[in-house]
C-alpha cells in the first residue's frame, strides 16, 4: 500500500527532477576574444530557455591546460580548431560535438581616428612607432597577423617594430592606450552594431591569411547535461548567429 506520505515524497522528488531537467546550469570556458558576444548570447539564452550559464573567459591555451588538469568545465568555446581537436583526440571531448561557431576577422586598427586610412600603404610607409600583434605562437589572431605581413611581403621590414600581446585582449589594450600606434586586433573588439565605432581601422581581406575558425566542443563532464546541449543548439540558431555577426565574426 502507498501511504499519503510516500506519495508526497515521490511528488517532491519528481518535481525536483523535473526542475533539474527544465533549468540546468552549464559551466563553460570561453576564449577571451569571444567575451563580448558570449555575454550577449548568454543573456538571450537564459531568457529564452531558463537555463543558466557560468562562463570563464581566458586564453585558449590556459583553458586547455586547466581542462586537461581537471577544471570543471562542461564545454569549451576555443579561439582555434587545434585545441578542440586535441581534446577530441585525447578523449576529453565528446565525439561529434565539435563545430565551428564563428570565423574571426582581423582588422588593422588605431585608437587615432585619422591614422588608418589605407592599411597596406601605412604598413609600407613605416609611419608608426610599434605594430601590436597577438603572440603568433599562442593566438590564432597573431598567426593570421604574421601571415598577412608575409602576404604583403613586409614581415622582415616590420619585425623590429612588433610588440606582442599574450592574447588578443592585451594586443588591443596596447593600441587602445596609445602605446602602440597601430595593431592587428579582432574586428569583434572594435565593432559594435556592424560598424567600427572608435579610432580608425581597415579590415584585412580574408584572402591574406588562413581563416580564423573558432571551434566549440562539449567536454566529457558535460556529456549528459541538457543545459550544455541546449546551449550548443542555441549557438547554431539564427538568434545567436545574428549576435555573432553583429560583432564582426562570420557565422556559417
Amino acid at each position: 500500500m502507498t501511504s499519503p506520505r510516500q506519495i508526497i515524497t515521490a511528488g517532491i522528488l519528481a518535481a525536483a527532477c523535473v526542475g533539474n531537467a527544465a533549468a540546468g546550469e552549464a559551466q563553460i570556458a570561453v576564449a577571451a576574444n569571444f567575451t563580448a558576444p558570449m555575454k550577449a548570447i548568454i543573456e538571450l539564452f537564459e531568457a529564452d530557455t531558463g537555463h543558466t550559464v557560468r562562463a570563464s573567459y581566458g586564453s585558449t591555451g590556459k583553458l586547455y591546460a586547466q581542462i586537461k588538469n581537471g577544471a570543471p568545465f562542461e564545454a569549451l568555446l576555443a579561439a582555434d580548431q587545434r585545441r578542440p581537436e586535441l581534446l577530441e583526440e585525447e578523449g576529453v571531448a565528446v565525439d561529434g560535438s565539435r563545430f565551428t561557431y564563428a570565423i574571426g576577422s582581423l582588422v588593422l586598427w588605431s585608437a587615432d581616428a585619422d591614422k588608418v586610412q589605407d592599411g597596406p600603404a601605412l604598413l609600407e610607409s613605416g609611419d608608426f612607432n610599434k605594430l601590436s600583434i597577438a603572440n603568433p605562437k599562442l593566438a590564432p589572431y597573431g598567426e593570421a597577423s604574421l601571415e598577412t605581413l608575409e602576404a604583403l611581403d613586409l614581415k622582415a621590414a616590420i619585425e623590429p617594430k612588433l610588440v606582442m600581446g599574450e592574447n588578443i585582449a592585451q594586443t588591443y589594450q596596447f593600441v587602445d592606450t596609445g602605446n602602440a600606434d597601430i595593431g592587428f586586433v579582432a574586428l569583434s573588439q572594435v565593432m559594435e552594431g556592424g560598424a567600427i565605432t572608435r579610432g580608425s581601422g581597415c579590415i584585412v581581406p580574408a584572402g591574406l591569411h588562413e581563416p580564423i575558425r573558432q571551434d566549440a566542443v562539449i567536454l566529457a563532464r558535460g556529456e549528459d547535461d541538457t543545459a550544455v546541449a541546449a546551449l550548443f543548439e542555441y549557438l547554431r540558431g539564427e538568434k545567436a548567429r545574428g549576435v555573432i555577426r553583429g560583432f564582426g565574426y562570420l557565422a556559417e
Binding site: G61, K62, A65, K130, N135, K137, V163, M164, F174, G178
Partner: protein, 226 residues
Amino acid sequence: MPFLSATDLEAIALTLRLAAVTTLILYVVGTPIAWWLSRTRSRWKGPVGAVVALPLVLPPSVLGFYLLVTMGPNGPVGWLTQTLGIGLLPFTFWGLVVGSVFYSLPFMVQPVQNAFEAIGERPLEAAATLRASPLDRFFTVALPLALPGFVTAGILSFAHTVGEFGVVLMIGGNIPGETRVASVQIYDYVEALEYADAHRLSAVLLVFSFLVLLMLYAWRPDRGTR
C-alpha cells in the same frame, strides 16, 4: 640537446640583468626613504609608509595597468619622457626597470628601515658629540650598523624582481632579449602546450629561488647574535 635552449638562456640573462639593475637603483632610491621613515616624526610618515607598502597588496595587474596608462603617450610620465626625447617606456628594458623599482620598493625599504630603527639614537648621538657631521654619522655609523638589513633588502629585492610576472606581462610586449623575461617565457611555453620546455625552465627558477632564500635564512641567525 642542451638542457636549456638559446632563447631560454637569453631570457635568463635578461632576467638577471633586470634584477641587478633594479636592485642597484633601489639601493639609491630606497635608502633615503628608509632613513627618513626611520627618523622622522612628521605626520607624513604614515602615508609615505603606506604608499611604499602598496605593491605588497596591490595585484600586479593594477600596477601594470597604471604603469601602461601613465607611461603611455596620453599619460603624464609618457608626456615627460617624450618631451625629454627619451620616447615611450612601455615595451623597453628601461620601462621594465621602472616597473620593477615600484614593484620591489617595499622589499628594499622595509628591511633597511627596520635596521636603521634598530640602531636607535645612542650611537648617532655619541658620534655627534665627537663632532661627526650628519653625513659623516650616516656613512660611518648608521650604514655599517645597518649592513645586515642592506644585505637582506638586496637579496629580497633581487629575488622578488626575478619572480616578477604580472607587471612585465602588462607593459613588456614580449620582445626577445628586451622584455621577454624567464617568467614570461615559461608562461608562453605553457600556453603553447610545450610542457617539457616549461618544466625545464621552471625547474631552473625553482632551484634558483630556493638557493636565494636559503642564503637569506642562513644569513639571518648571525644577525640576531650581533
